[in-house]
């Protein structure tokens, strides 16, 4: 379980890549949803984050289980859905990894797919940290 106290966005490793690809989440995407916030209703961004926190980890687990059962269709379906929601919330790297997984077929090398799922799991941890921090900031 991730702890809000441990969140430190500045600790996310930096690389010589464009900022949009370096950050786990492009927070500008989340901020863009403020303009569709309905008056008197709960914070839309917080609600979207909550839905993602609930949905994304479950999908990654299903992908791992499906891979173990060589259920390729399920792996692809979960990757497809996760790509859509991740991209919509600015989790660019998550979306890109899902984009790598989705077209893979049963004939592709299993270790490569397993490696991608490991990457996906690590990236999800980063994304969840950022989302938890953002949710914490908005609820204060």
């Amino acid at each position: 379980m991730l702890s809000i106290e441990k969140v430190n966005i500045e600790a996310i490793p930096t690389m010589r890549t464009p900022k949009i690809f370096r950050d786990a989440v492009d927070l500008a995407v989340l901020a863009s949803y403020e303009k569709i916030q309905l008056e008197g209703e709960p914070d839309l961004v917080v609600e979207l984050i909550n839905l993602y926190l609930e949905d994304a980890p479950r999908r990654v687990v299903v992908m791992r289980e499906s891979l173990a059962k060589t259920n390729w269709l399920s792996v692809k379906r979960e990757a497809h859905c996760l790509r859509g929601s991740s991209g919509s919330l600015g989790a660019i790297q998550m979306a890109l990894i899902c984009d790598e997984i989705e077209p893979l077929e049963s004939g592709d090398l299993l270790p490569g797919i397993e490696a991608l799922l490991i990457c996906l799991g690590r990236e999800l941890e980063q994304v969840l940290r950022v989302f938890l921090a953002e949710r914490h900031r908005r609820l204060q």
Binding site: I36, Q37, L44, E47, H80, C81, S85, G87, S88, A95
Partner: protein
């Protein structure tokens, strides 16, 4: 999951299996002044459409469990009472052939994910003002 607001002619039917996307679409639709009737798969949308045609538009994800968006729009085009309802097909697919398939099936507009709120709002307005005129929205 089915969320239904008050019956009115300002209703838009939304079907998407992704909870994040569902909530996002619902928020934008409501911001535009419409009521959202929201379901999480194509089969549930089909059930609603069997007895209720009082919608200004339908917004369907292409890939959904049980019944895909394409099948849903094909059904709507075979039913006279549903034929006037314009449909926006949304998809995370990159295959341009799917866009063509959407139009052949009877979709009115097509929007690729991910999209920003401006793109969605513009497409929704096109959908509601140019009913049944097939067109694509730039990817």
């Amino acid at each position: 999951m089915t969320f239904q607001s008050r019956p009115s002619s300002q209703r838009i039917l939304i079907a998407d299996d992704d909870p994040v996307m569902r909530h996002l679409l619902t928020s934008i639709v409501r911001k535009e002044g419409y009521d959202a009737v929201v379901v999480d798969d194509g089969r549930e949308a089909y059930r609603i459409l069997q007895s209720d045609a009082d919608f200004q538009a339908g917004i369907f994800d292409m890939m959904m469990p049980h019944l895909e968006g394409l099948d849903l729009v094909r059904y709507m085009r075979t039913e006279k009472r549903l034929q006037r309802i314009p449909v926006m097909m949304i998809s995370a697919e990159r295959d341009l052939q799917l866009m063509t398939k959407s139009f052949i099936a009877g979709a009115t507009v097509f929007l690729a994910k991910p999209f920003n709120t401006n793109q969605f709002q513009s497409t929704l307005r096109i959908l509601l003002t140019n009913k049944m005129a097939p067109r694509s929205v730039p990817l």
